[in-house]
């Protein structure tokens, strides 16, 4: 019996590899043999001057999945459709409500009033309009239930407005595949935002001052690893937003709530949660100011449109860097807070993996 099950596993993985090879043979590996068409050169002229022809060709062969359509991810979608990715799939079955209009500029008023379209459907048509050369499609389904093989269709997966559990599940799925799939999660809470990046093993060309670009290798932590680092091991200057986000996330998970389904009334419970976590992780509670938790709780699901634009812009740039294998990517968290205006990168866990090897 054991042998049979091993054989089945082997068969599955064999066919999976075969499929990937077939996919690569179709040009899925970002091969750069063909020239851009005159139409592409004219349309993309200004950005080719930023990232080069090869990057543009790789972009046109990349497939992106966005799970969770909100103000922030729609900014991201706009950016990468304009940039000219190969395809973009939107997964969000929630029926559009008036709340969705506040930070999302792609949902027409009448669509909202009909109350029949999903968020993904409502945005799909407008996104197609932005760039006829990009295939934009709706992927019906629930991100927390998608099967492993499904993620193989994509090179990039971006998740938002999903529970921690779903994010861990998707990140894990990406990591299990033999194909390289980059994983990003992004959340905007009013004036604050967080981006998480997992590129697994990423090699890219790093520009060197005055010299030839050099090949660089980076190894990323999984989401699970990145959020379970003992706090006492983190550098003193680690942004308070990292800790505050972990407290809220873990509180929401324990209460079985969706992200942002919390309010100021949760403050006492959240403060108790903070104390508990800080005690366990040997961190002073002052590192997670009450005022900051209050701001995040009051935000709920609200997104501040300028912050959506900033997060969607940074995320767009990151995905372009990752597809083109050009430029230093974020490793592995990005935080923005409109209150102090800083856009900060954090590397967590900070210890290089090689030391353990």
């Amino acid at each position: 019996m054991m042998d049979l099950s091993k054989y089945v596993t082997y068969l599955i993985s064999f066919f999976r590899r075969l499929r990937i090879r077939a996919f690569r043979a179709m040009g899925g590996d970002g091969g750069t043999e063909e020239e851009l068409t005159a139409q592409e050169t004219a349309l993309y002229d200004r950005q080719i001057r930023v990232w080069g022809v090869d990057a543009q060709k790789r972009l046109s062969k990349a497939h992106v999945l966005v799970c969770g359509v909100n103000g922030t991810t729609i900014e991201f979608c706009k950016n990468i459709v304009l940039a000219g990715v190969g395809s973009l799939s939107l997964m969000d079955d929630h029926i559009v409500t008036e709340d969705d209009l506040s930070a999302n500029f792609l949902i027409p008023h009448d669509v909202c009033m009909q109350g029949v379209s999903s968020r993904a459907e409502a945005c799909c048509e407008s996104l197609k309009d932005f760039n006829p050369m990009v295939r934009v499609a709706v992927a019906i389904g629930d991100p927390s239930l998608i099967d492993e093989g499904f993620v193989d269709r994509f090179d990039i997966i971006v998740v938002s407005c999903a529970s921690l559990k779903t994010k861990l599940f998707l990140n894990d799925n990406c990591r299990k595949r033999s194909k390289h799939i980059a994983f990003y999660s992004v959340e905007c809470k009013d004036s604050c935002g967080e981006i998480f990046v997992d590129l697994q093993n990423h090699s890219y060309l790093q520009k060197k001052p005055g010299g030839e670009p050099e090949q660089q290798e980076l190894t990323y932590a999984s989401l699970q690893e990145a959020i379970s680092v003992p706090w006492k091991n983190l550098p003193k200057k680690t942004t308070k937003l990292y800790y505050a986000t972990r407290v809220l996330e873990s509180y929401e998970l324990s209460e079985g709530r969706d992200p942002g389904e919390t309010g100021l009334s949760d403050l006492p419970a959240v403060l108790a949660w903070r104390k508990d976590m800080c005690d366990r992780m040997s961190l002073s509670e002052s590192q997670i100011p009450t005022a900051l938790l209050e701001r995040l709780l009051a935000a709920g699901k609200k997104e501040h449109p300028p912050v959506c634009a900033i997060l969607g812009g940074i995320l767009g740039q990151e995905v372009i860097k990752s597809i083109s294998c050009k430029g230093d990517p974020i490793k592995n968290f990005f935080y923005y807070d409109a209150a102090d205006g800083k856009g900060i990168m954090e590397d967590i866990p900070p210890t290089p993996v090689e030391q353990f090897a």
Binding site: V50, A83, K207, G210, I310, I320, G341, K342, M345
Partner: protein, 629 residues
């Protein structure tokens, strides 16, 4: 104290605000969208431009079907589709038009700039100062961007800090001794192209004298009556790339310390063309825009053509202008969106580059240099637009302690990708927002008033419609509504040298110059000087007294711009003093050196920018200034 008057919440402040957006291009499209989403409901937008194909990769409110239409109007209509209940007024006009005067500006609570050129930025800055309306200024180049806040009396104005000015080249570098590809481009674009296809009455420094006995006419560029087009094209080719180089080589002094150029003749580069005397072209398609590349079967704009290919493109483009676009000849001005003009200029620049041992470039690269094309991507514009709205809301709430200049960086500097910096106090020696007099070194015995007005008052001080007074004598006034005799009198004055004006200008004289539209007035003290260095002081006069614009070496080869941008950012990693304080002192000038890209490669002409050009100034380390308290 101020809090009593300040609106209680940002929502209220936003709802009550009336804002002016200048520019509906790369930043403008993003900004209008973010403003509308953020609850702004009374927005005016001004833009002079119409939509082009190369805008569509980032100016997401525009579609292919909109090409040729007004950016301001189309952007307004696109936003109203998803926010039908807000008020947007669009103006398809130049912000420098007289209708946008100080009173017009006074109706707004804040002005937001998404502009593409220094000239308009300075103009808006002055109107905002005069109208006492806060200004949020912005710019992007590639992955770099910045947002700054300018509030009269509280922070520095846009012109308190020196701005890099477009690089100009000494005429002789362009006409005789090019050493960089950009010099060849300037020659091809502003001399050869202008001479052949532009206004014949314009001054042109192209070497036209001819003594090659074959031709007896005064201008070798004129076509002979019986000359066929192929002969004409080949004659021009041999004249500018062959004969003119031979003449230049005769002057041994020039080449003492320089590499000697090689003359290039058509018989050497394209022997078959001379024999055939006329290529047969049957693939020309009358429906499409004429293109030498298309008729020669060249498809890849990224490819560097050989000398022979460049020669073929040049001759073909030349002929196509005469065959397909003859009506335009005499009125053409180089335009980066004119394919045939770009082909002609690329080929001519490359042939000249070959002569002078300068590496050749592809059409794509040459177009970037010739058109001063700015690198632009949607993401940076989106981020910058978000930052503009965040600052605008602070301005509306009068939350001046939290005003920040924010820099968007390509490489994190001490963990920061978005770096906030506290704004600076006004520069007390700024001629725009303080009353500090300027100093002009000039030879008053030979310099005409016209030269001072063109080269200094308009070009350097950025005045639109200036008025010049010497003591109480009015010697010049610009603009409409002048009496005929006044106008005639001023025209006479323009041609007079300074010392011979009705009120003579000599050493120690004080000029008062004013621009009524900008409500700007400043004094210039004159210092007489006889000698000027032709290379270093090509204007024949030197303006000083405020921090003069820094003229930087441009990255002119167009070959490694992106590499340069990254290296400059790397180079500054160590100069940042304290990463944790937002108001740190730092060398942003190096960090943001890529701003040069938007000024790259123009001769003394005004830079004609693409839509999102930046003037990434942010150069706090250059002048020591106190930070805003």
């Amino acid at each position: 104290m101020a809090s009593a008057a300040a609106p209680a919440s940002s929502e209220e402040a936003v709802k009550a605000a009336k804002v002016l957006m200048v520019g509906a291009g790369g930043i403008g499209c993003e900004l209008l969208k973010t403003l509308a989403l953020s609850g702004f409901s009374d927005i005016h937008v001004i833009d002079l431009d119409t939509i082009e194909v190369s805008n569509l990769n980032r100016q997401f409110l525009f579609r292919k079907s909109h090409v040729g239409q007004s950016k301001a109007h189309v952007a307004r209509d696109a936003i109203l589709k998803f926010r039908p209940n807000i008020n947007i007024e669009s103006h398809h006009a130049n912000v420098k038009d007289a209708q946008f005067n100080v009173d017009f500006f006074k109706q707004f609570n804040v002005v937001l700039n998404g502009l593409d050129n220094l000239d308009a930025r300075r103009h808006v800055n002055r109107l905002c100062l005069a109208a006492e309306v806060p200004l949020v200024e912005s710019g992007t180049t590639g992955f770099l961007g910045q947002v700054t806040v300018h509030v009269k009396g509280k922070t520095e104005c846009y012109e308190c800090q020196p701005k890099p000015i477009p690089k100009s080249y000494p005429v002789c570098t362009i006409t005789s001794t090019p050493s960089k590809f950009v010099h060849c481009i300037v020659w091809a674009k502003e001399l050869l192209f202008a001479k052949l296809f532009g206004d014949k009455n314009q001054d042109n420094d192209l070497n036209v004298h001819s003594k090659d006995g074959s031709s007896s006419k005064s201008d070798v560029f004129e076509r002979d009556v019986d000359e066929d087009l192929d002969q004409y094209a080949q004659r021009i080719y041999d004249h500018v790339f062959g004969y003119n180089i031979e003449v230049a080589l005769e002057n041994e002094e020039t080449w003492k310390n320089r590499r000697r150029p090689n003359p290039v003749y058509i018989r050497d580069t394209l022997p078959e063309a001379v024999k055939q005397n006329g290529s047969s072209r049957d693939c020309s398609n009358d429906h499409e825009e004429p293109s030498a590349m298309a008729s020669l079967g060249l498809t890849n704009p990224q490819e560097i053509w050989t000398l022979a290919e460049n020669s073929r493109v040049l001759l073909e483009a030349f002929k196509l202008f005469f065959e397909k676009r003859e009506k335009e000849i005499g009125n053409l001005v180089f335009d980066k969106d004119d394919q045939l003009a770009v082909e002609f200029v690329t080929a001519a620049a490359n042939i000249r580059a070959h002569s002078f041992g300068i590496p050749l470039h592809s059409l794509f690269e040459a177009k970037g240099v010739a058109g001063n094309i700015v690198h632009a991507v949607a993401t940076t514009n989106a981020i910058i637009a978000g930052l503009i709205v965040i600052e605008a809301i602070k301005v509306l709430r009068d939350d001046y302690k939290n005003y920040r200049m924010t820099y968007c960086l390509e490489h994190p500097t001490k963990k920061l990708l978005l770096m906030p910096v506290e704004p600076f106090e006004p520069n007390t020696s700024c001629y725009v927002c303080s009353e500090t007099p300027l100093l002009l070194d000039v030879n008053t015995k030979v310099t005409k008033l016209k030269e001072v007005i063109d080269k200094i008052i308009k070009s350097k001080l950025g005045m639109n419609l200036p008025l010049v007074m010497i003591g109480s004598t009015l010697v010049f006034e610009d603009g409409d509504g002048l009496e005929e005799d006044e106008a005639a009198n001023y025209a006479l004055n323009l041609e007079k040298v300074l010392a011979e004006l009705p009120a003579p200008v000599i050493n120690g004289t004080k000029l008062t110059v004013e621009d009524f539209q900008q409500e700007l007035s400043c004094s210039i003290n004159i210092k007489h000087r006889e000698e000027f260095d032709e290379e270093k002081e090509p204007d024949g006069m030197v303006l000083s007294g405020w921090s003069a614009p820094v003229e930087k070496q441009i990255n002119s080869n167009g070959e490694n711009k992106s590499a340069a941008s990254s290296s400059s950012a790397h180079a500054t990693d160590d100069t940042v003093e304290d990463p944790s304080k937002p108001g740190m002192k730092r060398k942003l000038d190096e960090l943001l050196e890529t701003k040069e890209n938007c000024d790259a490669s123009s001769s003394a002409q005004v830079v004609e920018d693409d839509d999102d050009c930046t003037m990434l100034d942010g150069n706090p380390a250059l002048i020591k200034k106190k930070r805003l308290q």
